[in-house]
């Protein structure tokens, strides 16, 4: 199946390129304005991104989230683990008490939800960024080797990708993670990487196969460039755009996955502060004190949303087909 779908993707892709190139004067009119300085894909993308409000908002939110997770102490004086059951059991939020410990109320153990939300950001960001980085490296490597060398190496790696793809993500993660008694954050990261690399591998393989047939690669080969040089100087830089697009969009998904797994009780666990754990512990009081569950849920959603918007903006900027 991957053989065929990749080939189709490549062929339809090629067709689209020729069709736009062959389109009559309209296409030339829109292309014509750029001869003065040849804009590269990346600088063109940056030009677009700088004036995209969605990108600016999401980038701002992401920076804020990173600062919060690096220096949670800057945002709250309260500790996420201080419990005062006597005074604060399920305390209601005080929406006007900005940045105060009681801003978002208290949970079932009398802990400040605001403080927990602030301290919980770190887990989400580390998992999201860590998984994305590792998945991108691993996936690109596998995809590039399979796509470039072809033959039995490709067959082997593609079947391996198929096998991992055959395991539904959530089910696989559940099984992997239950086999760990103690689940530190790196265990969760590795489990997600273990199951998540296939997507990038397929994208990388597909674009490497297309690039491999490009004239500049054929020329480099004919000129006697070494395989490593071709891979690092020609293939990788040109295959990077679709990989980055998929990776940025997937990042939000990994954060959601961590929260879901923690919620199911197989991801992070106390005493690690994590939004998923908090959502999970808030479910008993959903009827009486919905804020305990809803506030960390909203935080997860906002974080995922920021990364999604970011990824979306990057994709629109990098994918000339969508222009």
């Amino acid at each position: 199946m991957p053989e065929k779908t990749a080939a189709t993707a490549a062929s339809t892709g090629a067709e689209k390129v020729t069709s736009t190139a062959a389109a009559p004067d309209t296409a030339l009119v829109t292309k014509a304005p750029k001869p003065d300085k040849a804009r590269s894909l990346w600088s063109d993308a940056w030009h677009d991104l700088r004036r995209n409000p969605l990108f600016l908002i999401s980038a701002g939110l992401i920076v804020l989230l990173i600062v919060i997770s690096a220096f949670p102490g800057l945002f709250t004086s309260a500790s996420p683990r201080d419990a005062d059951l006597a005074n604060h059991y399920l305390g209601q939020p005080n929406w006007s008490h900005f940045f105060q410990p009681d801003w978002f109320g208290y949970d079932g153990q009398g802990r400040s939800i605001y403080a927990r939300v602030v301290y919980g950001a770190r887990a989400s960001i580390i998992v999201g960024v860590g998984v994305t980085a590792l998945v991108t490296i691993l996936g690109t490597l596998v995809g590039m080797i399979a796509g470039y060398f072809g033959g039995w190496i490709d067959t082997l790696l593609s079947r391996l990708t198929d096998i991992f793809m055959g395991i539904p993500f959530l089910l696989g993660a559940l099984v992997v993670l239950t086999s760990f008694e103690k689940r530190a954050i790196w265990v969760v990261i590795l489990a997600l990487v273990f199951l998540g690399w296939t997507q990038i591998a397929r994208v990388a393989r597909g674009s490497v196969i297309t690039i491999k047939q490009a004239d500049y690669v054929v020329a480099a080969k004919a000129l006697g460039a070494s395989t490593t040089r071709i891979l690092t100087r020609h293939v990788l830089p040109n295959a990077l755009a679709p990989i980055i697009v998929v990776a940025t969009i997937a990042l939000g998904g990994y954060i959601a996955a961590e929260a879901t797994l923690s919620f199911l009780g197989v991801g992070l666990a106390e005493p690690t502060v994590s939004w998923g754990v908090d959502v999970s512990s808030g479910r008993e009081q959903l009827r009486n004190a919905p804020h305990v569950l809803i506030i960390p849920s909203v935080m997860v959603s906002i974080t995922v949303l920021s990364f999604l918007m970011f990824g979306d903006a990057v994709r629109n900027a990098l994918d000339p087909k969508l222009r």
Binding site: M1, E3, K4, T5, A7, T8, S11, T12, K16, S19, A22, A23, R159, L160, D162, I163, F164, G166, I167, P168, F169, L170, L171, G172, L174, V175, V176, T178, S179, E181, G252, A256, A257, A259, T260, F263, L264, V266, V279, R283, L286, R287, P290, L293, I294, S297, V298, V300, S301, I302, V304, L305, L308, M309, D312, K321, L322
Partner: protein
């Protein structure tokens, strides 16, 4: 075509074996011992434990255990649970229909609403309604299903009292409506976006210009020329998504207390009943593989440029 199907079915075998073996191996690595769990807190005779383990083949090396398991599985024998002594086939027979119903319900919802929204947005790229839909799908995608699930449960059951918080009757479509919407929402958002993008892209294709030049009415240009081309990637996505829907049910079924596959697998995981987990997982993998085969066949029907190679 028949030969192609046969070859694809053959190709599926190693993938099926690989995937199930991976799950099997992971279950094997699980700490905790169902036999020990069976004994509870009572003092037990190590010899008895050993005997049971031997009886079950749990003392064999991993690959032998797996081969044995696979051999039984091919004959339709899923084995029995260690603690409860229930045949796993029974558990599956009870749980699968519930989940299949839920999944199909969610799938239908995804297809109808997702493609519908995608068409509405895709016909007018960059319009207000297009941007509105993109925003809506972004929100849906960014809400993990447990968030959406509890939000719906809180609003519909606790706040407005429209429904019961959990599903009482898994045969009733009315009861399954809320879980199905929650389960399908993520896919729905993806389908809507995919349809939208695909349509917006094809809208600029040369053959669309030809269709206009032929003087065809707009309805026909959109309905025949645009849709046939635009739905190809959507169908591909839908096929690979069935497996995700079925496992997504783990969360949804938990929230709404539906006694389906997700519920069964979750239970089994915590009782360390490896055979149950692997059995159910194998079936899900099989569904996933068959669905992707179906998609490939459909793909070739929808796009004649694809040849069965």
């Amino acid at each position: 075509m028949g030969r192609y199907v046969a070859r694809r079915l053959l190709q599926m075998i190693p993938v099926f074996i690989g995937s199930t073996f991976l799950i099997f191996a992971m279950m094997f690595a699980l700490p905790g011992d169902p036999v020990r769990a069976l004994m509870g807190d009572q003092a037990f005779d190590p010899a008895v434990v050993e005997a049971i383990r031997h009886d079950r083949g749990l003392d064999l090396p991993l690959w032998q255990q797996y081969l044995k398991y696979l051999f039984e599985l091919v004959q339709g024998n899923f084995g029995t649970e260690i603690a409860s002594q229930r045949p796993i086939a029974d558990i599956i027979a009870q749980a699968f229909p519930v989940t299949i119903r839920l999944t199909l319900f969610a799938f239908t919802f995804t297809v109808v609403v997702g493609i519908g929204l995608g068409i509405i947005a895709g016909l007018r790229p960059e319009s207000v309604r297009d941007r509105g839909l993109l925003a809506l799908t972004l929100v849906l995608i960014s809400m993990p299903s447990f968030v959406l699930g509890y939000l719906m449960q809180y609003l519909f059951a606790f706040k407005w009292g429209v429904t019961t918080p959990t599903v009482q009757d898994s045969e009733s479509f009315g009861d399954l409506l809320l879980p199905a919407i929650v389960l399908g929402s993520l896919s729905l958002a993806y389908v809507a976006r995919l349809t939208r993008t695909s349509m917006a892209e094809n809208l600029r294709a040369d053959y669309m210009r030809t269709a206009v030049a032929k003087g065809l009415p707009r309805r026909r240009i959109i309905g025949v020329h645009l849709m046939r081309n635009s739905l190809v990637p959507v169908v591909t996505f839908l096929g690979t998504d069935i497996g995700n829907l079925m496992t997504g049910a783990i969360v949804t079924e938990g929230i709404f207390n539906v006694q389906g596959v997700g519920d069964a697998i979750y239970e089994a995981l915590f009782r360390r009943e490896g055979a149950t987990v692997v059995g159910i997982a194998s079936l899900i993998v099989l569904v996933y593989l068959l669905a992707s085969l179906l998609v490939d066949l459909l793909y070739a029907v929808l796009d004649p440029r694809i040849r069965y190679a």
